[in-house]
Symmetry: C2
Subunit: 519 residues, 2 copies
């Protein structure tokens, strides 16, 4: 093979497994985008698109052994987790197919002509059309569900947009394998294989976002990488929408009443959420407000015990391991920061989970000095901020940037909306807290943990910057909206309208007729 | 008054009328944004917001004489047009109030918990929350409907976002007057006046888009000004959505069959659309594909006659008049371009309407040389491109940037979907043309004119860049979506939920329950 080789690496040993591809040259990126662009007409066929998404899900399911083996060999995430992730991925592909069949995502609106209005209103019929070729940037931490066959790809294909995926360097072999399965599924349902393809290499990613025929991008990754691509998308002669998920601290607030009621349960649950997937989730709780005093101490004790019992784990690659160790060391060195269980190197290729603590008082006195504590640290660590009263907790929350999630641990009485000193639900402390964290996040969780993002119609996976660079979601029923734009047809004769907008409604789409739901 | 004065100028004479304000200093911009930010809690009251929007509409209607007089004195648009524009403006405010009352814009979705799923699904409840303070940049050409009390302001207030408007220098007195009426309406309905305010001055506009508490911006204006603000919004430490409408050629295609059937009607109608509001509409048809031959000649003849009979008009300011005269001169000097009615200076303060013609053949041979013909020229002029066959017409369309609108003039047989040589509607030339212009525009008009943008649920006023910088609309039922972001609540106890999401649905909102419409 000519060109810069792309190696699949085993993170359990740091050793190269196999050479699976070469980095795409600018010419190859151009070819991939042009081929995708040429395939967009075929993808406009709604029935073919639905069949393709379902065939892709079936083929991935049928290939579970090979996919999970390949993904585990280059990510060390384990067969159990990866089998679950593949299930989530194929569920997602089928959910998008169902959404395309349902058609409500097209938001069809028809306004009848009204000559009695001043000025008279012409007939208007509106739906949404696909934007064109979409660039998808695969995430490191979900080699399936947020990578080649993941949610961005599924929703873009469902919208009718061909996809070129920039593979993540942590799982090039999995990416090539999944791409070949998706392309086979396309051909099996009569679509050109080029409705989806993969390019490898850092430079290829930049070429992609700058390509004139690329019309939108989806990204899941770091603040640094995501912001560079966002900036490139905005600086184009023709700027394009960039839907990026960049970083999130995912704050948790434990109220004194909750700590009094469930210290051990909360501490143990927190440890599980922090160490799930070796702490490599975008929604890992990275900052936890724990009350001072005995109940909070009990919570920390339970957390420390559970973390101490957690086996060291393998991170996705060696650079991440180094960054994790350095990031934890930098934070632990701050004045007043303690490490009841020191996170850091485990064995030669593993890391141990842990936590850091700091007093809210100290952090609030000098917020700039503690800036790194308010930044995401990828890996199995969380920062506990011990607070004296609600004022301190609110002041710490006010320092935080945007987040994907915010979690509250509340007592039973707080959940009932009652506070001892105040019986109006609206002004109860728990309701106030809900309001405070709503400003900070795209998903608010009560008495659960943010890890585990359900694929469901009402899901929202996004949040104020840097959680995401737009107001959209990358998971759930509305993710497809990112890849569409509305078009209104004014006084267009029925035979010339797209079938979606014809009076007889041949596709049976839900629609809003002069403001009223109808079908 | 200290500071740089802001003058209201009479464009009919070029004379200063009165000093109406001073340019806002950075400190004053900061104060306006902070005051707006502080008012956002009050604006969260849905009933107060609805009452306020309706009171604002009533107060503007009651002030019609003063508003129209002031606006006419500094824009020369005439009392008839401005009275109509005020009606459109108050209709828009009331339509937003109705939309807030209806509540479907909140897109409430509830997914019931499903423990039988693998993994089990928690309960999710999602709606949309306001982004925060919105910056609105007023347009020159609509001193009311796209300025202080216009669609951006109305939809942002309806969403629950306080607004700071950067007034347009062409109508500072109208801006101050309208702002005072809106602020009075706010106070009359129990809201702080600072839910809406106005700042004047170019630098104030830049300060505004960079202010940390500004969360989104709406803009209607030129490509140059809009792109500078878009770039500033994207370059912020925390980037914000920038919904800008920058420029549009609004192509028209006249088929040979349409020209054969209605040459005179089309020529006369085109003249009316080009000269409406002295050619100062964002949706003015700026490029018209007219077939070569006798029918096309007859169309041009009718257009030329109607343009020649049009009285010279006053543009919004003297800089625009100079730009129009220079822009027309530059285009007319291109080889092969003729001017059957020369657009340019009328009297000392007016301009005369006109048109330019060029052969598609020449333009296609050297597209770069004719680049200015493919750029919007603000004012009463349009460019006719004479084409020999459908291939030439398609090739010219392929050169165009994005547009707000595209218009087709078709024959009766083409409207019926029938073509002499082909009876399948899908492949008929007219259906093909619809597909070609759908790629180019946000609204497609058949046998009408793009000027006149109905305020209606299905309207879409936006389009591929540079028509707009996002996929959103600034007019119609979905304009409110620009100022909101979704939030999902996971397992949040009913008493702690916002009223919009409570199980009993106290506000009676339409909602999607596990994918099915319910209320």
């Amino acid at each position: 093979m000519a060109g810069t080789p792309v190696w699949s690496v085993d993170p359990r040993t740091g050793k190269q497994r196999e050479r699976v591809a070469v980095e795409a040259t600018p010419r190859e990126v151009d070819q991939a985008v042009r081929a995708a662009h040429a395939a967009r007409g075929a993808l406009a066929d709604r029935a073919a698109r639905i069949a393709f998404l379902r065939a892709a899900a079936d083929l991935l399911d049928a290939s579970v052994t090979a996919v999970v083996e390949t993904a585990d060999a280059e990510t060390a995430l384990g067969a159990g987790r990866l089998t679950g992730e593949l299930g989530r991925t194929t569920y997602q592909l089928r959910a998008v197919a169902d959404a395309v069949e349902d058609g409500s995502y097209l938001d069809v609106r028809i306004d009848r002509a009204d000559p009695a209005l001043a000025p008279p209103r012409p007939e208007l019929r509106r739906y949404k059309v696909p934007l064109g070729v979409v660039a998808v940037y695969a995430a490191s931490n979900f080699p399936l569900a947020f990578s080649v066959p993941g949610g961005d790809t599924a929703s873009a294909l469902g919208a009718g947009c061909p996809v070129v995926v920039k593979a993540h360097p942590d799982h090039p072999a999995t990416s090539e394998l999944c791409a070949s399965l998706l392309r086979r599924a396309a051909e099996a349902t009569g679509l050109p294989a080029d409705v989806v393809s993969v390019v490898q290499g850092f430079d290829a990613g930049l070429e992609l976002v700058r390509h004139p025929l690329v019309t939108a991008a989806g990204f899941t990754g770091s603040v640094r990488g995501g912001r560079a691509l966002f900036d490139a998308a905005a600086a184009r002669p023709v700027p394009i929408p960039f839907h990026g998920e960049l970083g999130s601290l995912n704050p948790v607030v434990v109220t004194p009443a909750a700590a009094a009621e469930r210290a051990e349960e909360i501490g143990t649950g927190l440890a599980g959420s922090v160490t799930l997937g070796v702490g490599q989730f975008c929604v890992k709780p990275g900052l936890v407000l724990v009350p001072e005093g005995a109940d909070g101490d009990a919570l920390v004790g339970a957390l420390v015990k559970a973390l101490g019992e957690t086996e060291p784990g393998v991170l996705l690659d060696h650079r991440m391991r180094e960054n994790f160790i350095a990031g934890v060391r930098e934070r632990a060195a701050l004045p007043g920061v303690t490490a009841p269980v020191t996170p850091g190197p485990g064995g030669a290729h593993t890391v141990a989970a842990g936590c850091l603590t700091v007093a809210a008082r100290g952090l609030l006195a000098e917020p700039e000095a503690y800036g790194t504590l308010l930044e995401e640290c990828f890996g199995p660590v969380t920062v506990l901020v011990r607070y004296a009263d609600q004022g301190e907790a609110a002041a710490v929350l006010a320092l935080l940037p945007g987040n994907l999630t915010a979690t509250l641990q509340l007592s039973a009485a707080e959940c009932a909306g009652a506070a001892p000193e105040d019986t109006t639900p609206e002004s109860a402390p728990a309701a106030r807290l809900i309001g405070e964290v709503t400003r900070l996040a795209g998903r608010v969780v009560v008495n659960g943990w943010p890890t585990g993002v359900a694929v469901a119609p009402a899901q929202h996976h996004g949040g104020p910057y840097p959680a995401s660079t737009s107001t959209s979601t990358s998971v759930g029923g509305t993710a497809i909206e990112r890849w569409l734009r509305p078009v209104a047809y004014q006084s267009v004769p029925d035979p010339l309208l797209p079938p979606e907008l014809r009076e007889a409604n041949p596709l049976g789409l839900p629609r809003l007729v002069t403001g009223t739901p109808a079908s």
